[in-house]
C-alpha cells in the first residue's frame, strides 16, 4: 500500500517536515526530526532503487491526474541512483550535524536551519524524481533559495556576500533554464519530459529548439559550476557552515549534473545534443581547463575548505569530461564519479567540520599537529584525500580508471594524460594538509585539542568505509552506472 506511494513520499515527507521543524522550535528536537526524516528519505530511495527494473521505470501520477495533464513523477534507474546519493549524503550529514551546528550557528536559528536544510533536501530530491520540466524548475528554486539562506548563516561576514553572489548567479542560471523550458513548451505544447522527448525529433533543427537548447545548457552549467561559470562556488563553500558545505558539496552540483544528463540525453537525445561535435568539444575543453586550472588554484589556498572547494570544481570537470566523450565508458565514468565524488567530498568536508569544531578554524596553520591530537579525524581526512587523488582500493581509483579508459577508447591519449596530471595536482594539495597535520607540531601556546566526539566521527567514518568499499566492490556504482549509460545512449543513432 505504502509502496506504491513511495515516489511522492520521497519528496513530500521532507517538505512537510521542514515547517514542523520550525514549529518544534528547540534545536535538539528539530535536529531529531530532521535526522529521522533524512534516514526515512534514504530508506525510500533505497527501496526505489531496489524496485526499479533494469531499463524500466516507476511512474506516479501526482494527485491522480494522469500525464500529460497532471505532473508525473518518474523514477528510472538513473533517478533512483541519484536519489540514493542525495539521500545518503543528507542522512549522514544530518546525523553529524547537531554538535557542529550548535558550535557554528546562533541558538535561536537552529530550528530555522534544520527547516532550510530539509527544504533543500526536498528540493534536490524533487528535481531528480519529477518527470515534468517546469516542476523541475520549481524544485530547483526551492533547493537554491534554501541553500542561499543556509550559506548566509556562516560565521564569517563574507558568508553574506558569498551567498549574495550565489543568489545572483544561481537566479540567472535558473531563469535561463526557465526560458529554455518555456521555448520548448512553445514548440511542443508539453512539459512532460517523455512527451518532449517524443515530439522534439520531429522538429529537427528548428531555431526555437536550438535557442532553448542553448539557454538550458548555459543555465544548467551555471548550476553545475562548470569552469568558467564556477565563480560562485569557492566562496560559497568556504564561508558556509561546515555542515552546509558538506551537504551541498555532496548533493547540489551532483543534482545539477543529473539535470544536464536528463536534458542532453533523455529530452534532446544524444543524437541532437552532440551533432556536429560542437557541444562535445566545448564541454571537453572547459572540463579539462576546469580540472587543470582549479586544481592548480587549489594548491595555493591557505583555507583548507576553500582548497577543497576548488578541488570540487576540478572534480566537476572530470565528470563533465566523461559526459563530453559521449560513449558508454565515458558516461559510466561520469556517473561513477558522481557517486564517488559525493562520498569522498562529504567525508572530507565533515572531517574538516570536526576540525573546525575542535580548533575553531580550517586554515592550514590551524591544522598543525592535528595528526597527533585528532588521529581519527585526520586519518579520515587522509583516506578521503587518497580517494580524491585516485589511489587504488579507494572509490576515486575506479572513477579515474574508467575516465582514462574512456579517453583511450576514443583515441585521445593526451586527455588520459591530462586526467592523470590532474590527479598529481591533487597529490600536491592533499599532501600540503597531510604534511602540516602530521609533521608540524602544534604551535606553542595553542590550546590543547582533543579528538572529535564519537557522534561526529561515526558519520565521517561511515563515509570513509563507503569510500573504500566502493573501491573494492563496485556492484552498486559501476553495475548501475554501466546500465544507465547504455540506457542514456539508447536513443542515440
Amino acid at each position: 500500500m505504502i509502496d506504491e506511494h513511495l515516489p511522492v513520499l520521497q519528496v513530500v515527507v521532507p517538505l512537510l517536515a521542514a515547517p514542523m521543524c520550525l514549529l518544534l522550535g528547540r534545536g535538539t528536537l528539530a535536529w531529531g526530526l530532521a535526522t529521522a526524516v533524512g534516514w526515512f528519505a534514504l530508506y525510500v530511495a533505497l527501496s526505489l532503487l531496489g524496485s526499479v527494473p533494469a531499463g524500466g521505470e516507476i511512474r506516479y501520477a501526482l494527485g491522480g491526474w494522469a500525464a500529460p495533464w497532471g505532473i508525473e513523477y518518474r523514477v528510472d534507474r538513473l533517478d533512483s541512483y541519484v536519489l540514493v546519493i542525495v539521500a545518503a549524503v543528507g542522512a549522514l550529514v544530518l546525523t553529524y550535524a547537531r554538535a557542529s551546528v550548535a558550535r557554528e550557528i546562533a541558538r535561536h536559528q537552529h530550528a530555522a536551519f534544520y527547516a532550510a536544510l530539509l527544504l533543500c533536501l526536498a528540493g534536490l530530491l524533487g528535481i531528480v524524481i519529477t518527470g515534468d520540466a517546469f516542476n523541475l524548475f520549481v524544485f530547483l528554486e526551492i533547493s537554491s533559495l534554501s541553500s542561499y539562506a543556509l550559506i548566509s548563516l556562516g560565521r564569517d561576514r563574507r558568508a553574506l556576500t558569498a551567498s549574495y553572489q550565489y543568489l545572483i548567479m544561481g537566479t540567472l542560471g535558473a531563469t535561463f533554464i526557465l526560458i529554455g523550458v518555456g521555448l520548448l513548451y512553445m514548440v511542443t505544447g508539453t512539459l512532460n519530459m517523455l512527451d518532449l522527448a517524443e515530439r522534439l525529433p520531429a522538429l529537427g533543427d528548428n531555431r526555437t529548439v536550438l535557442a532553448a537548447f542553448a539557454f538550458l545548457v548555459v543555465g544548467i552549467c551555471l548550476k553545475i559550476a562548470l569552469f568558467p561559470l564556477h565563480l560562485w562556488l569557492p566562496n560559497a563553500y568556504a564561508y558556509a557552515p561546515s555542515v552546509v558545505t558538506a551537504f551541498l558539496a555532496g548533493t547540489a552540483t551532483k543534482v545539477a549534473i543529473y539535470v544536464l544528463l536528463r536534458f542532453l540525453f533523455t529530452i534532446f537525445g544524444a543524437g541532437f545534443s552532440f551533432s556536429g561535435m560542437l557541444l562535445s568539444a566545448l564541454l571537453m575543453v572547459l572540463a579539462l581547463l576546469g580540472v587543470l586550472v582549479a586544481s592548480t588554484v587549489a594548491i595555493f589556498q591557505n583555507d583548507v575548505k576553500r582548497m577543497l572547494a576548488y578541488s570540487s570544481v576540478a572534480q566537476i570537470g572530470y565528470i563533465v569530461l566523461g559526459i563530453s566523450l559521449v560513449s558508454v565508458t565515458g558516461l559510466t565514468a561520469a556517473l561513477v564519479h558522481l557517486f564517488n565524488h559525493a562520498v569522498m567530498k562529504a567525508a572530507l568536508f565533515l572531517a574538516l567540520g570536526a576540525v573546525v569544531y575542535r580548533v575553531g578554524g580550517a586554515r592550514l596553520e590551524d591544522m598543525k599537529g592535528l595528526g597527533r591530537a585528532m588521529p581519527l579525524t585526520l586519518a579520515a581526512f587522509v583516506a578521503g584525500g587518497l580517494s580524491l587523488i585516485g589511489v587504488p582500493l579507494t572509490a576515486g581509483f575506479i572513477s579515474k580508471w574508467y575516465l582514462v579508459l574512456a579517453a583511450l577508447e576514443a583515441g585521445w591519449w593526451p586527455i588520459a594524460l591530462l586526467v592523470l596530471i590532474g590527479s598529481l595536482l591533487a597529490v600536491v594539495y592533499v599532501w600540503r594538509v597531510v604534511e602540516t597535520a602530521y609533521m608540524q607540531p602544534r604551535p606553542a601556546g595553542a590550546a590543547a585539542v582533543s579528538e572529535a566526539p564519537w557522534h561526529m566521527l561515526l558519520p565521517i567514518w561511515a563515509l570513509v568505509v563507503a569510500n573504500v568499499w566502493l573501491g573494492i566492490d563496485t556492484d552498486l556504482t559501476v553495475g548501475i552506472a554501466g546500465g544507465v549509460a547504455v540506457e542514456l545512449l539508447g536513443g542515440a543513432p
Binding site: 524548475f137 542561499y148 561576514r157 553574506l160 556576500t161 545572483i168 540567472l172 518555456g182 513548451y185 512539459l191
Partner: protein, 116 residues
C-alpha cells in the same frame, strides 16, 4: 513581419536591460532590481506565448470560440512567486550585508575584505 513578433522584441530588450544592470551595477540593491527586470522579461515571454489570436480568457462562456492557453499563465504565477521569494531573500541579504559592512557597494565591500 519583424513587428508582428513585437512581443519578443520587448522580451529581448527587457532581458538585456536587466542582464546589463546585474553585470554592470556595483550597488547590491540595483543588482536585485536588474535581476527582477530580467525575470519579468521571462514572465512576459510565457504570458505572450499563451495568447491565442482572438481568444478570450479561458472561462467557458457562451459565444466564445477560441480561448487563450491558460497553462503558461498558471506556470508563470508560480514563477512570479519564486521571483518574489528570491527578491525577498536577496534584499534580506543586502540588509545583513549593510549591517556587517556598513555599505551596499560591491567595490567598497571587496576593499574591506581585502584589508581584513
Amino acid at each position: 513581419m519583424a513587428l508582428s513578433l513585437y512581443n519578443y522584441w520587448i522580451v529581448i530588450v527587457l532581458m538585456m536591460t536587466g542582464f546589463y544592470i546585474v553585470i554592470r551595477s556595483t550597488n547590491l540593491v540595483k543588482k536585485i532590481v536588474g535581476l527582477n527586470i530580467f525575470q519579468t522579461s521571462v514572465f512576459i515571454l510565457y504570458i505572450s506565448m499563451g495568447k491565442v489570436e482572438g481568444g478570450t480568457a479561458p472561462i467557458v462562456t457562451d459565444g466564445a470560440t477560441a480561448y487563450s492557453n491558460p497553462l503558461p499563465h498558471v506556470l508563470i504565477l508560480t514563477a512570479i512567486v519564486v521571483g518574489v521569494a528570491t527578491t525577498a531573500l536577496g534584499l534580506t541579504l543586502v540588509v545583513r550585508i549593510k549591517e556587517a559592512y556598513g555599505s551596499v557597494d560591491e567595490e567598497a565591500i571587496q576593499r574591506q575584505d581585502r584589508e581584513a
